[in-house]
Structure formats: C-alpha cells, structure tokens
Symmetry: none
Subunit: 134 residues, 4 copies
C-alpha cells in the first residue's frame, strides 16, 4: 500500500524514504495536509526499525516538506517553495543535468535520446508512482 524500500541498496534506507516521499509529493500522489503513516505503523509495514523512519521524517520536516504536530501525527506541508525563480536553484538543476549527460555518454546514449526521455518522463508525470528507489 505504501512505499517500498531496498535494505541492500547503497543509498541509506532513511534516504530512500525521504526521496520517495518527495517524489510522491512532486507527482501529486501526496497532497498538502495529507497525514503520513505514523512512525510505528510504517516501521511495522516495512519491517524496519522505527528510528530509521523517525530520522527520515525529521529530515523531511527540516526541509519544510512535511510538518509534525505534537501528539497528532505528521502531515504534508502546503507550499513547497513560493520563491519565483532562484538562480542557485537553477544552477543546482543544471549541475544535476550535467551529471545525467555524463552518464548518458558513458552508456552510449546520444543527447537526442536524453531529450526524448525527458519529454517522455514529463508526459507520464503523475502516472507512475511506483518504483523509484534503486
């Protein structure tokens, strides 16, 4: 019903949870004010330690993605980032894209196909919510 993580991945489990929640929010599969499962609940579900989920939730709260209300639960925040257009943010994205192109080159994929893949991913946005934690 909820997210699936891979304990054997080289990216830590708490980070996988963070990434997955952020991905779900970006894809509108998780809307503002939605209540996330409680730490213990999710821990049981994933059969991992509650501390690991607590760490993920704390980091997400620190990033302003979710908010914790004492004794009530944790909820998805309203506005992700109301800033109009940050230069640092654009540089950040540019750097990520550079890394994608570097890897594409070493996989033998021409830039044209990267463009196509980007269009493909954008077109199917909000559709695939499963599978994004290798």
């Amino acid at each position: 019903m909820w997210l699936t993580i891979d304990p054997r991945s080289n990216t830590p489990m708490y980070q996988q949870i963070i990434d997955d929640v952020k991905a779900r929010i970006a894809k509108h599969a998780l809307t503002p004010a939605t209540k996330l499962p409680s730490i213990r609940e999710l821990a049981m579900d994933l059969t991992i330690n509650p501390n690991t989920i607590a760490k993920a939730y704390q980091e997400l709260e620190r990033e302003g993605v979710i908010e914790v209300i004492r004794g009530k639960g944790t909820f998805v925040c309203a506005a992700p980032t109301p800033l109009p257009a940050d230069a640092a943010a654009r540089a950040d994205v540019r750097e990520l894209l550079t890394k994608v192109l570097v890897q594409a080159h070493h996989l033998g994929i021409p830039f044209d196909e990267v463009r196509q893949e980007l269009e493909h991913v954008i077109a199917n946005w909000t559709m695939q919510v499963e599978e994004e934690s290798p």
Copy 2:
C-alpha cells in the same frame, strides 16, 4: 593543473575523482589513449593518500573507462560503450531524469525551465570542463 577535489564534500574523494575523469571524457577533454597521471604523481598534486587514487583508478578500470598497463601507466580506453541502444541504459537515464524533475519541483522550478537548462547544458558541452563536484 589537474582535477580539483573537495575533502569537505560528503561525496567520497575517490568518487569525486571517478566522476571528474568520466566527465572529462564525456566532454572530450580527455581523449582515448591519453595517459593519466600516475597514482603517486596525482597523490602528491592533490596532497591526499595514494590509496584513495588507487581506489578510484581501480573502479574506473573495472567500469572499462581506463586501462592500466603494468609498467607503462594508465590510459583512457577507446570506445566507452559501443552498444546501439540498450533498454536498461535508457531506463537508467529515465530514472535519473525523474530524480531531477522531483528536485526541480521541490525547488519551485517548472518543467519548462528544466527543458531550457538541458538545452543550455547541451549547447555549452565541451566548453566548461571545470567545476562539477562540490
């Protein structure tokens, strides 16, 4: 004169070396058969432990990016990956692009701007070789 790495970064130093070499190759700043600096040389240059560079070179060789010839030195390999168009490779790129879009969303950057940034990075390819691992 050669690559610059940041010991403070949370990405391990050996990984920074790997990323930098692969980026230079992708940008044709390092062409096949080019000789890389020796481990000791580079270690002195960066004032870091030779073991760290050895680890990076080993991993690069394992990936088929460079070639170590005993007694001669280490050299950039010829063809990165001559496969025409691997499905797994495309899925790999698609996944990376998904992550970029997720982060762009949380930075408040619309998809249009991501497209623009991709074009910008492709247009300036092979030009900027400095600075991509902080």
Copy 3:
C-alpha cells in the same frame, strides 16, 4: 480575541499559553485580580483540548502567577515576587543573557546591536502585546 497559539510550533501548546499569560502580565496587559477565561471557554476559542489549558493553568498557579478559586474562576495574582533582589534570580537572568549573546554571535550580530535591541524592547514595553510565541 484572546491569545493565539501555534500547534505547529515545537514548543508545547500548554507552554505557549503559560508564556503568553506571563508576557501579558509583565507588559501590564493583564493586571492583578483580572479574571481569566474559563478552561472550557478558552478551549472552545482555541479549538484545542481542555486538558491542555488545564495543564497550563495548573502550572501558572503552581508558579504563583494566577489563583484558582473554586466556583468563581481563575484570577491574576497580586505581587509577582516581592523579594528585593535575589542573587539566584540575577544569576538566572545573567545566564539567559549569555545565551542571547551566544546566539547573536552566531547570527553575526555585534554586541552593540544587542544593546540597542534591548533598549528598543524596553522603550516599546507595554505597547506590543501580540505575537511572541512562534
């Protein structure tokens, strides 16, 4: 009409109530013998659990700030602390001021400005009664 509390804050709600009442008294916005709203009344107003307000009132009574008279209501006490000048109290204030200066340092604010801010706060005392617990 009355105090406003923030359930999102990391300081507990009952503590916010305590702080707010004490601040209002210190600023003479609440004078001795004034009747506070009843627990049920306030609970309805803030739409929070009556237990939370009861806890705050209990603590305020324990500190001698307010007085609960069964069947009549709760009232602001007369003299906060008539002691002339307690050494322990001064040490207490000194410690708090130390913390302020430490934080000011890490915010890049020189001590001169802290002095100015103190004068500013003292000058505008009893004027602003809203907003001091987010």
Copy 4:
C-alpha cells in the same frame, strides 16, 4: 577537560552539547580549524552513548558551525556568518530579549538591573568558559 552535561536536565543531552560548543566558539575558547574530540572519545569522556554525540555533531554541521572531513575528524568552521546585518536575525534577538525581560519581571528584577547584567556579561566575555548547561 571538556564540556560537562547534565543527563537529568529537561533540555536533551545532544542539545546541551550543541549549546556548549556554540558558546565556546562565541567566546573564542574554540577557534576555527580546531579539531573537536572524536565521537567515541567524547562518548567515553561523558559516559554517554556515541549516538547522542553523533546527533549533536550532525546538527552542528548542518548549522554550518563545524565541518566533518571523512575519516579525519570534525573541525570548527571558519566564518560563522559573513552577512552584514540581517533583519530576521535582529528580530530573532529581539524576541529572545523580550523573553528575558518577561522572566526578569516575574523574578522581580527591574529593567535597570537587566541592563547592568548585560554589561556585566559583555565585560566578562571570553573569561568564563565553564558552567552554562542547566
């Protein structure tokens, strides 16, 4: 030799460590590039769990106060905040000072004495490095 914390305080131990390190830096008892004791070392010294210190160090790094160099240790950062004068920072200090004055009022300490105490604390800055974690 190093900091002393109180396990029975209502402020969590990891927070006490954070506060103490920041206080020492503010008082120049800890200068940039100084190496902090290792997690295990400090854990032995304080006879508390290494995880608790790890949490404190991580938070301090997140705040930009210290920096971790993989496999080497943790060090005090150089510039705390080079910003000239932030309005939000001043408001932050103002809010803290308001709280100090509120408490001073309830302790029966007049504002004049608060002023004196502030001068006293500033005058003796960098002198007392012991005792600030009640």
